[in-house]
């Protein structure tokens, strides 16, 4: 059932995105005050309405473009190119976590615990980043490794539970999201992570020696994590297509009983799949805590854990597809702010577009199965 849901093709993904933007455009037009007022005298001067709609929709999507790709209105060159760096800054954690989920989905495990695994990665990386005093060359890799390890650990517990007790990974990962979030807020209220003399749930700042290099300078949020993201894309592709581990993961995803009969250790592979999946989500956590954020707060995972599910689906669980989808989502995130600021279009429109994408990706199997029933009836 899940595997059917997860299968699709490029055309489907592209169509889902296009249709969602059209629906988004309609909503923008409907919620625009000028459109609403000119609609009241539509029969008298129909062109007013049409130009109002055009202005609203074009204006909004133009702002989205300026906020996410290239700001041709900016005064400085830096300002012009800043939007694309913002897009990439958002895309980095989303893509990393999306890759993790894609690995799990390909292996037949519906891991929706991205949020929890990101948080665990951030806690581990954050603790190392705050508390150790080492030169960058040691401290940074150690902090990243700690984050990756944290995510892997949290993920593999889920795999272990599934392997030993048969627990459903969907339910377990949902519960683990809560556990991770609550644990984080507990840590941030106790001396384990909370900054001394502070009443807010916030940690001490991450030491500079543990951070991803801000290779574009302090004016940009984009950091070297983007290269880690690209490396992760290549690594996941290699893992799935060129390694024994990935081969066994895919065998498990397509046909667990044939895998078992061929001597593949199913239980062990559940643990390994979830460890790899969690490790990538943990990496996303490091990108947040060692890159974008200055210190650990309860909002460290933002909505990236859930965006990652959509991104994995939209990218058809293919590493390069996930990268493309991740950048699209990063762009939506980055552009939404400009859209709201310059056009007064509510930021929720972007969330609606994102949700529509999920809906349209999820719906085609449904639609297709309806059509197949029709075809059968005709055939008989």
């Amino acid at each position: 059932m899940i595997s059917k849901f997860l299968r699709g093709n490029i055309a489907l993904s592209v169509l889902a995105v296009l249709v969602s933007f059209v629906v988004g455009g309609i909503l923008i037009a409907l919620s625009d005050p000028t459109v609403q007022s000119s609609a009241s005298y539509f029969t008298a001067r129909p062109t007013d309405l049409l130009s109002a709609i055009w202005n609203a929709v074009f204006g909004a999507y133009d702002a989205l473009f300026r906020g996410s790709v290239f700001n041709y209105q900016a005064a400085t060159t830096t300002g012009m190119f800043k939007p694309i760096t913002e897009t990439l800054a958002f895309a980095t954690p989303i893509t990393m976590a999306g890759l993790g989920l894609a690995v799990a989905f390909r292996s037949g495990l519906f891991n929706i615990g991205g949020t929890g695994q990101i948080i665990f990665g951030a806690i581990f990386a954050g603790w190392v980043g705050i508390n150790l005093d080492l030169p960058w060359i040691l401290h940074f890799p150690l902090a990243v490794l700690a984050g990756v390890f944290g995510g892997a650990l949290f993920g593999s517990i889920v795999g272990l539970l599934k392997a030993t007790t048969g627990a459903n990974e969907v339910i377990v990962t949902i519960m683990f999201n809560y556990i991770a979030a609550l644990l984080l807020s507990y840590f941030l209220k106790t001396p384990f992570l909370q900054a001394p003399h502070n009443i807010n749930p916030i940690s001490k700042p991450i030491l500079a020696s543990a951070k991803y290099p801000a290779f574009l300078g302090p004016n940009f949020r984009l950091h070297a994590g983007v290269f880690a993201m690209l490396a992760a894309v290549a690594l996941v592709w290699w893992l799935l297509n060129r390694s024994t581990l990935g081969f066994q993961f895919r065998a498990l995803g397509h046909n667990p009983s044939a895998a078992r009969v061929a001597g593949i250790n199913i239980g062990l592979n559940y643990v390994l799949v979830m460890a790899v999946s969690g490790a990538l989500a943990g990496l996303a956590g490091t990108s947040q805590i060692l890159g974008t954020e200055g210190s650990l707060t309860t909002g460290v995972a933002a909505s990236f854990g859930f965006d990652a599910i959509t991104v994995a689906l939209l990218g058809r669980n293919n590493p390069f597809g996930v990268l493309a989808a991740g950048i699209l989502f990063g762009g939506l995130r980055a552009g939404a702010v400009t859209m709201q600021a310059s056009q007064g279009v509510p930021i929720d429109i972007v969330f609606i577009v994102q949700s529509m994408i999920v809906l349209f990706i999820a719906a085609p199997p449904l639609v297709r199965s309806i059509f197949r029933i029709r075809a059968k009836v005709e055939a008989a």
């Binding site: 390694s243 024994t244 044939a258 078992r260 009969v261 005709e378 055939a379 008989a380």
Partner: protein, 499 residues
């Protein structure tokens, strides 16, 4: 109505699935279309039914050329089709299923289900189908579901009825009933096209036989021809329906099963004190009606049964309690009963399926890295050696016919260094040519000097292949007998009466 297909050619890419195929089916005749899996029979019928458009050729009904752009056209012209996989909606009743797509409506667009039920009952009575219009289709036995399909075709008043491998899913008794139905339909003046690769059925009902091979019509056969002659036409070379093997030269005891008890997940005992030995160079067939513990026995050997007691020794080493991997590494080749479920990963390529059991070791992998060059070479070699018919080693397993899928499984299992071969219903659902091939491989494995365990549910296969036959009934071995034991004796043992 007379159906004529004239010079039909249908290509899928480079492959000519139908190459200038001609065929005439007369009213009041059963016309058998005989051919191995992949011969192009279904493709031809799908062209007739408007599901595919022919690249060239003509369809004539009563000598008038017709063109179908879809199944709707074909149905309207009087062509009915009973597919191998039923096109029924399980939660609907028989009547609802039968009228789907052309629902009779009362005034105001209300579905006239009463009219539908009446029609179903009429047809059912006329042909003695014994189908209740109000039964839920999903709850009916397969044989009855098939009759619902036939009613669907008859309700649109089909004059030409096509049955695509209808017996593949039926029990022997249901098969006999279906043949009786086909005869009745023929006698009512319809033209019947009956697609199959089972020779016994052809000899029983056919009025006329057309044989196809590799997309071409290779000739006609008469029902009075011998099964061997027909099989040779299908396969394109002389075939031997007998299993050819020299007398076994049993060596030392290879596999020793003693006092084996197995319980399933519900805690029921499925194997009860099973003991037997298989010598090196000997085939032991476990015969019996399906579901009497044979599956569990093979699974216990493989290591996928968890609650057990007793011992399974291969060359003196205990297998019981070992993991699947350990058992395979001990030299056990395993051909599972359900090849699509347990034998292959449908979405994997032939090449990938060939390394399913060894993706973690040299020469298929080095330090966790797949050696794809080696795999390509290995797969090409195996595909040639086992004559797997496919578009190439990158073809997905799901695209292969049953026979070719089984060849992939065999190629994989027999390419390891074996000390024991276990094969469960190795020829189930295969065509003649493939059956012969599989039997040859099994005998060859025996002659290489290893013990072979075969599970067979068909008595013919058991007696031909086995050097000794162990009959199982309700988890017990009823007795171990030589293969020339009288069939009635074997039948009694299968029914639980001791010999």
């Amino acid at each position: 109505m007379k159906l004529e297909l004239r010079g039909i050619t249908k290509r899928f890419g480079a492959l000519a699935a139908n190459d200038n195929v001609s065929l005439v089916a007369e009213a009041g005749q059963i016309h058998c279309l005989l051919g191995e899996n992949g011969a192009g029979k279904s493709t031809l019928m799908n062209v007739l039914y408007g599901l595919y458009q022919a690249d060239s050729g003509q369809i004539l009904l009563d000598d008038k050329p017709v063109k179908f752009s879809g199944p709707g056209d074909a149905m309207a012209a009087g062509i009915g089709m009973v597919h191998q996989h039923f096109m029924l909606i399980p939660v609907f009743t028989v009547a609802e299923n039968v009228v789907l797509g052309h629902e009779p409506v009362k005034f105001g667009g209300v579905l006239d289900i009463a009219a539908a039920r009446k029609k179903v009952r009429e047809i059912s009575d006329r042909f003695g189908f014994d189908v209740d219009p109000d039964a839920i289709v999903g709850e009916l036995p397969v044989g009855v579901q098939q009759r619902v399909e036939i009613i669907k075709a008859l309700i649109t008043d089909a004059k030409v009825l096509v049955f695509d491998e209808p017996t593949a899913v039926l029990t022997p008794q249901e098969t006999d009933e279906l043949m009786a139905i086909m005869r009745q339909l023929r006698d009512s003046g319809r033209a019947i096209v009956f697609i199959t690769h089972k020779l016994r059925e052809v000899k029983e009902v056919a009025d006329k036989i057309t044989v196809m091979r590799l997309g071409k019509v290779v000739g006609e056969a008469k029902p009075s021809d011998t099964a061997e002659a027909m099989a040779s036409m299908m396969v394109g070379r002389a075939v031997d329906l007998e299993v050819r093997k020299t007398p076994a030269k049993p060596g030392a005891a290879g596999l020793e099963v003693s006092g084996l008890n197995v319980w399933n997940h519900e805690g029921q005992q499925v194997l009860n004190d099973v003991s037997f030995q298989i010598h090196a160079g000997e085939i032991l067939v476990i015969a019996g009606v399906q579901g009497n513990g044979q599956t569990e026995l093979t699974e216990a050997i493989l290591g996928t049964q968890t609650k057990h007691h007793g011992s399974i020794k291969l060359s003196g080493h205990e297998l019981l309690g070992k993991t699947v991997k350990q058992v395979l590494d001990a030299g056990v080749g395993f051909v599972p009963e359900d090849r699509t479920e347990d034998g292959l990963v449908a979405d994997f390529t032939i090449a990938e399926n060939l390394m399913l059991d060894r993706s973690d070791r040299a020469p298929f992998a080095k330090r966790g890295v797949l050696q794809l060059d080696f795999l390509a070479k290995f797969a090409a070699e195996k595909v040639a050696q086992y004559d797997v018919r496919a578009q190439g080693i990158q073809a997905k397993a799901s695209q292969l016919s049953g026979g070719n899928q089984q060849k992939v499984v065999l190629a994989r299992e027999l390419s390891r260094e074996l000390k024991l071969l276990v094969a469960s219903q190795p020829t189930r659902g295969l065509d003649v040519g493939s059956i012969e091939f599989v039997h040859e491989q099994i005998v060859a494995a025996r002659d290489s000097g290893i013990p072979v365990l075969i599970v067979a549910t068909e008595l013919d296969e058991a007696t031909q292949l086995g050097d000794r036959i162990a009959v199982m009934y309700q988890g017990k071995i009823m007795g171990i007998v030589p293969p020339d034991t009288d069939r009635t004796v074997l039948g009694k043992m299968m029914a639980g009466l001791s010999a």
